[in-house]
Symmetry: D2
Subunit: 151 residues, 4 copies
């Protein structure tokens, strides 16, 4: 039956991406993203509440994350909630929730390691911000190569 499972986050990475190259030319990147909410409590004091999200990126997006994201990077993320369930050694049911990222966009300033040669004109197609929108369901073949970064 048809459903919708959508997550939208804006936050900062708590650490550099952790990237694993798997067999069969597959790549996965894991990110820790903090989204912080700020509000006033009853006493009028400003309170900050931070939620930490475990993000998972696959394929070309994992590679772009590896290359351009790092601890502190601010990103916009779109994805879906995905959980793994298993039994632990005590026979207890366990569940781990992750955000499967379907697209992300770097926010704020130009990344330090963006591919912009010095003296490159401002109107260069090497735009200063990364936008990655593979919108890849499992059945879609994204035959991108490393030379073919989306920005």
């Amino acid at each position: 039956m048809a459903g919708v499972n959508k997550v939208i986050l804006v936050g900062n990475l708590g650490a550099d991406p952790e990237v694993k190259y798997l067999e069969g030319d597959n790549v996965v990147a894991n990110l820790r993203l903090a989204t912080t909410e700020s509000y006033k409590d009853r006493s009028g004091n400003r309170v900050e509440q931070t939620e930490w999200h475990d993000l998972e990126l696959w394929g070309q997006q994992a590679k772009i994350a590896e290359q351009y994201l790092k601890k502190g990077s601010q990103i916009y993320v779109e994805g879906k909630i995905k959980s793994d369930t298993w039994q632990d050694e005590q026979g207890q049911n366990r569940k781990k929730v992750r955000i499967r990222v379907l697209s992300f966009t770097m926010l704020g300033g130009r990344p330090d390691n963006a591919p912009n040669a010095p003296n490159m004109p401002a109107t260069s197609t090497n735009a200063p911000k990364a936008s990655v929108q593979t919108s890849s369901g499992p059945e879609i073949d994204l035959s991108d190569t490393d030379d073919d970064l989306p920005f």
Copy 2:
């Protein structure tokens, strides 16, 4: 620091709402929501994948959920990801992820137990679908009482 933490779901309840009345006139409802995704695998077979979400509603929304939602109900949900963390008896760090619902809307047909008397005119303010939005624009008066359900 400013962030965004937003979840949008459309799915069906796997069970009737579980409602607890707490001290201090507080109410909480817990719902189990299934979002099902359907796609074709490499062999061309249609595959269904269901994700189960733990929803948490508070206050007036909890009461409306109790009154109008039941096992099988299809709803649109907007909320945010919220996790509790603690140490279990083995001293292991544990984390439980929930969706804190900020608004929801009943989808599909008129709920069985909707407050529509027979012979009630079609233009009755007892509209057939529940829409609950605790968050309102500045011009909207939310002086709701318990007798004053938003539909």
Copy 3:
């Protein structure tokens, strides 16, 4: 520069889809969707405010809309805002805003004209609710055929 342009709607069609078959095997469907918001004004009276949206669907989605949607259908829509600008006969700048639909899902009950023969097994791939998620950027080739409906 990287941006986000996302629209999420839940509403009902004000009329049957208008479908045009263009040259080159292209199809476009135009839908009128009403989203209705209900709130109480200062006097405590319930007020309904309806916004009408012009939706545009292309390709396989247009065909599915033609086949399964009709006046009154309730759908969930995801898309982006897209405007055409031109000069009218008086030389005035004009602008027309549409929602370019990227995916939609039928809500509520089984559509009347869904392809479920009586005695059809429950596991039929002709599932009773349409879910269309081509997530088609302009560069993605969706070589679906009519026999290959996504439900």
Copy 4:
């Protein structure tokens, strides 16, 4: 009938906010926001497509926009589509679509004119990024005054 009308944008302002102070202590700000999408056409050339959105903010949000946003500012916006319709001098039906902003968040670096004195402690409540959310959870006290900007 219950509906959903939601817009999520990330983009940059094309000009400084235009703010009007109305009678009765009301304020409205109009913003022009560009969302740019980048993709490759059939020839493999990168193409940028920019959509311009007319945003409308009211009350406290309008004041914050006036104070902290300017041409070029990158923001995350959440709102709804809202159209005005009228007849022009030729008796033609006209329609103007705007985004009614319900919340916004400044992205990227610290705004130039943010209220951070030099030597101000890092834990100052005068946080450098604006987050404005008129819609709040039930437990949040929104007793803001004009002197009491939410960051």
